[in-house]
Amino acid sequence: MKRCLLLIAVAILFFTFVSGEGRCETETYAAAYVPWSGWWWPTSSGGLVTGEEYRGHPAPLEKYDYVMNGRCDGPATEFGSWRYYSEDAKSWHGMCFCWAAAAILEEEPVLAGIYDGTLFRVGDKKGLITVAYDGTLYTTVYDDAETDAPEVFHQVLDYYIREKRSPVIFDLGTGEEHWNFPVYKYDTDYTQEGNVRHYTVKLYYASDGVGDNIDFVGTLVSFSTYYYWLEIEGETVTGSGWKNGSIPPKKAFEPFGTEPYINSIYSDDPGRDFHQEVNSINAVVGDPYEGNDTFGNAVSLHGGHYSLVAVTNDYFKVVDLEKGDKLYVGISSEHGASVSLKVYDDPAGDPVAVIERSGEQVIEAARTGDYYLEVVPWNPAMGPYYELTLRQSLAYQGIFPVDPGGLWATGITVLGSEDAKKIVVAQMDPDGQIKNSFDSSSKSHLVGVLERDFGVTSHYKGYLRIDSDGPVQGLQVVTTGGDLMFGSKLIPADSASSEVFFPHFIRGTFFGAEKTWFGLINIGNDAEEVERFAYDEEGILVGTDTISLAPGQKIEEDTLEVGILGGASSMKALATSGRDCLVGYIKFFRPSSPGDSSIPCGCALVPLPLERASALIVPHCACNDYWRTGIAVMNTGSEDTVATLTAYDADGYEIHVAQRMIRVNQNLVEEVADIFQSWDVAALKVESDNGQPLCGFVSYGSANGVQFSGVPLYGAAPAFTDLYLPHIACLGIWGTGIGIMNTGDSAAYIFFSLFDGDGNLLDETIRDVKKNQRISSLIKNLFDSGVPQSARYMKIKSTGPVNGMYLIATTDSRRLMGSGIGF
């Protein structure tokens, strides 16, 4: 029986051989590696520049431009808008070829990275490298349109994938459509009929169907099957054709790399290499702190908002917290790529706080020392992106209300009391998110320019928050370095109010000013509903609206764009919760000097809230050929009032009196010289006859409009109060002048003490001041020996109640700013 079976088998083999009939075993050949899947960036949606179908703006090319060219709408985005985006493009038109070439020749970007502060996700990286391959240099190795027959298709697979073990691009589109894919594997078998082989070939390729998740990592595999026959005489193919309805691939390509000078992005600058720059972006994996993967390697962070990637566990620390200090910790990560945050006061102990995925907590330091943060990715292979927010909240806070950035440089001075051992300067964005911070534990007098001296390099048009463990005062000066300068004192957080008054604004002209902005900041910890009331020149309500302010949020609006202000003359903002959470400012801007557009402009800032008192002091009036002094006073009370305006000369003698009816919510806006028809006024007192709370500010300006400043009005400071002028500008072209008025009923002594930055007393002087007399002087003239270069601040103390202000100006008569002293 066995012999019989053997004979049958031999016979089958013999007949198969003789007749040429039979089936070949399936053989599989694969390239040495598998190309990666990526998105084909349809031209009709232009995702590379619009972010459509991905993550919106900033789109991949916008991010590239931002880090490489300093702006999101740079040359790459401009080029991409023209080349990769057309709403009218055919639905199938896109970047499949470029992606396929990149997927073959480039390693797959598998982790997000933060390059120069900007997050590039996997989809961004793949998008950019796809653009680089717009300049693919390639050869066509098979072209159905040029009548390349199945044997060429057969040969391409055999040569590239079987022999060279290299993927090859196939255009598997049909009709007019092109769909290019990196083919990396194929199965092949055939049946033999006589001298004809009937082939079945299955191609495996990386798919670009990742539209649901353009950050996809890995390879989505698709396949297509083709049928063809080859007629063979001996070893030579003598005929061929496609069969079983196979629509042959259109083309096949071998990619080699990219052009030395990628398309036209940098046509004007051949020294720039887009592909190389993209490679440098894509090479960055994780965040700038990588290596912080143990408690021992924890990176010390200041307060701030950090964009980070957890390739492994990340460790950070916040150093030198004092017992009782508060640490605000917030973390935000994404669904599907989440992290946990654990906060430790002792790395060997249990966490004192845990946040899963997203959230925030306030941790009150139970002990003095360093605190540690551990960020644990739920799935490290995904290298999840997260945002970490840290902010220290110390016992005393204040606000510098503007941080304009751009062409503006911001200088600040913070003067701490003897109790102030630590000062934290935090840069907040308009949404109230901390972006950067600077800590000082060694100096109680900080002075410098944000970028140059505090390493705070980015501006978000938000504001600055100062935290200290002791009382502080401060001054902010913002200047273009040219003709524009404005500034503000530090607004103490405890002066925040539920009601903020805007006594005056300009939608036309005011001392030549043509534009006014209102700023409002909610410095509380709760979301606030803020109702705004607009009043006309008679104090009659002409409009209301309601806005919402999130905790920490700031808004700044051009008054021309606030609808309720049409026909209005003043405004009140009210937090409906009644919480004292609002601070703000009024910012005036003159585009050019009145009557001469060639003379540069001026600007002024008035910090809010304004003090509300029944008597307000204008300690210095400058009325002459050059200077103009104006006042804006608002009755914020519930009753109409008659305001008595009393003018004094430089020696304190009453020289004029005027009265004005100011109705509820009405404002009084006049130049001092016009009120009294005199230029002799040195100081002024405005007093309500029935005790209504008034608020307002005084403006100083040069007649040509170039120099311009606003100073809030206050009542009187009590006797023996320590008043500080936190910054003295006396070097070079800078000069500082003060106006101080004795508002008491008798003569007083005023003591002036000059200090250096370390708090060392440099000089002292005493002035005897009569009732209602005011001192108006440049600081350098107060002291017999002038002001030493090392002088940084001045303390003023009086035996009677006083009110003062100071002005900082340049001797070229171009820049001016001012503030109250000691308030």
Partner: protein
Amino acid sequence: MKNGFRMLAWATVVVLLCASTVAGSENISPAWKVGDRWQVRVVYPSPVVDDEWSAAVYWNYRVVGREMEGAEERYAVDVSEQTGRVKLKARLFYRCSDGSLAGVDMEKMSRGKTIGTTLVYEKGVPVVSERTLIPCDTPVFPLTAPSSSEYRITRVMGGGMKAEKIVRQDVRRLPDAEGSSSSAAGCPLFEVKCTDDKGSILFLQRWGFHYPWPLYGENRNMRYWLVTE
């Protein structure tokens, strides 16, 4: 005697192909010597936009030596891209006997790795640049105008199979006006065109006397010009 005759014939071929082309004769063969250099400007089709071409890529050619491969003497010509940014280089081997392309050793980069490729070509048939960005289309020399010849070319397909195709080479002398844009003033140009059996152009070149390389050429993957200035 037979051996002696073959030697003589071989020597004759070598003399014919390696000697400088004599001006005025109506055929062209490139004449090189070791150390010769030339540059070729090439543009490639855009992968994204039809009828758009890449910025020019410049390839530097240099005859680096003559070497024996078995009994056959060959010129070795190194080719590299001018800026070094295109990670591809090749050594082309030309038979001294007839100027035909004998083979190509090529290196390209993929994912940071060097991939080497060696291509070998039959003697006495036209060669089309393939699997490379480097122009190396080579007609059968000498180019005689007018002339037409057919060649049978065998391609190895793998799996023990071969494919053959007929390539036709036509050479004509261009009228002065037609060739003037590609030629040094006053010099006649020969145009050689190789087509497959379906009439599709495999490559086209325009040659001038005394030039080491065609003044202009094109195939489906590139257009190229000899840099003459």
